[in-house]
Amino acid sequence: MIAYLIRRFGQALLVMAVMATIVFFGLYAVGNPVDLLINPEADLAEQEETIRRLGLDKPIHIQFGYFLAGLTQGDLGTSFVHNRPALELILSRLPATLELAFMGILIAVILGIPLGMIAGLKPDAPYSRFIMAGSVVGFSTPNFWQGLMLIMLFAVFLGWLPAGGRGETVDVLGIPVSFLTWDGLSHLILPAVNVAIYKMSLVIRLTRAGTAEIVHQDYVKYARARGLSPRRVVGVHVLKNILIPVVTVLGLETGNVIAFAVVTETVFAWPGIGKLLIDSIGLLDRPVVVAYLMLTVFLFVMINLVVDIAYSALDPRVRVKRGKA
């Protein structure tokens, strides 16, 4: 287990280092943030002054050196635009994104697994075909288009739910969450559904494929031969085995949601890190972009870790390989 953790963190550090370096130099190549930050009426002298003030007059490798020096002290740099530590800026937006991501995943799982199992148990029934057709469509349409349609339908035509933004939040342990009030929840539903549709289609497909395969396994037939009730066979013997691929994929998808939230957050004006990233890329706010990427990699690794732990809780066979000593 220790070796496993070391391996994981080693890999994370490597990815973070590679990414940070590439992006640091990559964004430098894109352009000069001052061109965007500065008021166009400012004259050339003032532009140069700003460049100097932000440390952008130095050669790129020197800037990178400063960045590395800061890094050793846990300083990921200060946003050019917001004049706040990049990490703090991201962390302030992170709860919103995480809330969105987890709500989306939750919806996907709560609806997706039962639907997928139904479709897998009775693959030829009309309702199963309907579920699968729906999942193909959900799987196929781009996220932004779905978001748009949701807004059109529920916010504009029906007027049931707000079209965007984050509603009222309540602090829980110092973290603002919005699902505890009706206002907050009503703002959360549409974007969460937007996030959920694709994941749900994925979960349905995975669950269906898993169910269709697992019901033919010997141990399922054996469970029936032992006189177990169908409820127990499906609810324990089949479900627990299906959860293994579903958890694996969902773990990866949670990371993807955090990244893909870029689109959803743009469409729904959800104040999360995805929007921050788009804005920061647009404004070439390099410290924020680099810090975002490093944080995302870190989150990925943490999520993968959690997934692996969940995975070994679900699948005892994995533990042997890990536990060898």
């Binding site: 031969a225 032992r226 627990k240 042997v320």
Partner: protein
């Protein structure tokens, strides 16, 4: 004669495939008495495994039991509702599967799988069920059964796993155990251990056993009576010594003479020519006719019916071998 525990009459099981309906089990009749071991011998595709599942009523789509009776202690199981069948499986009739790797659910501990079986049939406390499970494990020669209960299937060797499965089968003292090639996947020394345990336990309990195998040599040492299956039909039955020493059906004769140890070293084997027919395109007459050295015109056109050729033996053949005595 003592009333048989299980009596199967004219059992027919069909499968719908793309190429049409396939009769996997075609008019099978057999009896097993208390404490008796019946060996069903056949090559792959002969329908021996399907026969086992048909007795338990575990035939899934696209298959179905198309006719016949399955009498357990005189009661026709085919008329029982599914709920009653479910109560019966694992309790009155237990089954042991071929591959001990695939039989136990890999993600559930041994105790979970044993306790759920007991509690599906007996109204006992979980603690009592655990005690029963541990007792059963001890009975089949598993050392330190209480600790073993907490392990997962993959943590055991193949032989140990098969012992667990046998323990589960014996646990509720069924009237009948159907064992489908339970030692094929095991090494010779382990097979020998399992066979020895089975002999010991069955003799003590008067449990009827149907032992399905492709290996005549195992049957020779274990069974009281033998039924030989070919292409979905039982072609010959009889007491083990009688049948193996004086086979009447050319197929049985062929099987015996295919066994290398049946002839002295250096002598040529006399194999059956040709290959096992596909169930999709069975010949019109006797299914064995194309491979049979004794086949006549009749054999190619008409199906032989089962006939009793002596008190204990029956046969499906137009041209049986002469039996000494």
């Amino acid at each position: 004669m003592i009333a048989p525990v299980l009596s199967v009459r004219n059992l027919v099981t069909e499968f719908d495939t793309r190429a049409g309906t396939v009769t996997a089990v075609d008019g099978v009749s057999l009896d097993v008495g208390p404490g008796e071991v019946l060996g069903i011998v056949g090559e792959s595709g002969s329908g021996k495994t399907i026969t086992g599942f048909s007795i338990l009523g575990l035939i899934d789509k696209p298959g179905r039991i198309a006719g016949g009776e399955v009498l357990l202690n005189g009661q026709d199981l085919r008329t029982l509702p599914e709920a009653a069948m479910q109560k019966l499986r694992g309790d009155r009739i237990a089954m042991i599967f071929q591959d001990p790797m695939m039989t136990l659910n890999p993600v559930l501990r041994i105790d979970t799988q044993m306790v759920e079986t007991i509690r599906a049939h007996r109204d006992v406390s979980p603690a009592r069920a655990r005690d029963m499970a541990a007792e059963a494990l001890g009975l089949v020669g598993i050392p330190s059964p209480v600790e073993r209960l907490r392990t997962y299937p993959h943590e055991m060797s193949g032989g140990m796993r098969q012992r667990v499965v046998i323990a589960i089968a014996l646990m509720l003292e069924p009237d009948l155990i159907i064992a489908d090639e339970p030692t094929t996947a095991l090494d010779v020394t382990i097979q020998s251990q399992i066979l020895s345990e089975m002999q010991r336990l069955l003799a003590a309990r008067k449990t009827a056993l149907i032992w399905i195998t492709h290996d005549l040599t195992v049957v020779a040492g274990l069974a009281h009576r033998v039924a030989v299956m070919y292409a979905g039909r039982i072609v010959e039955t009889g007491p083990v010594d009688d049948l193996l020493d004086r086979p009447a059906h050319p197929y049985t004769q062929g099987l015996i003479s295919s066994i290398p140890s049946s002839v002295p070293r250096g002598e040529r084997l006399v194999p059956i020519k040709g290959m096992t027919p596909s169930l999709i395109s069975l010949p019109r007459g006797c299914a064995f006719a194309p491979r049979c050295p004794r086949a006549s015109e009749t054999c190619h056109n008409a199906r032989p019916e089962a006939e009793d050729i002596s008190e204990a033996r029956s046969l499906r053949c137009f041209h049986p071998l002469e039996m000494a005595q």
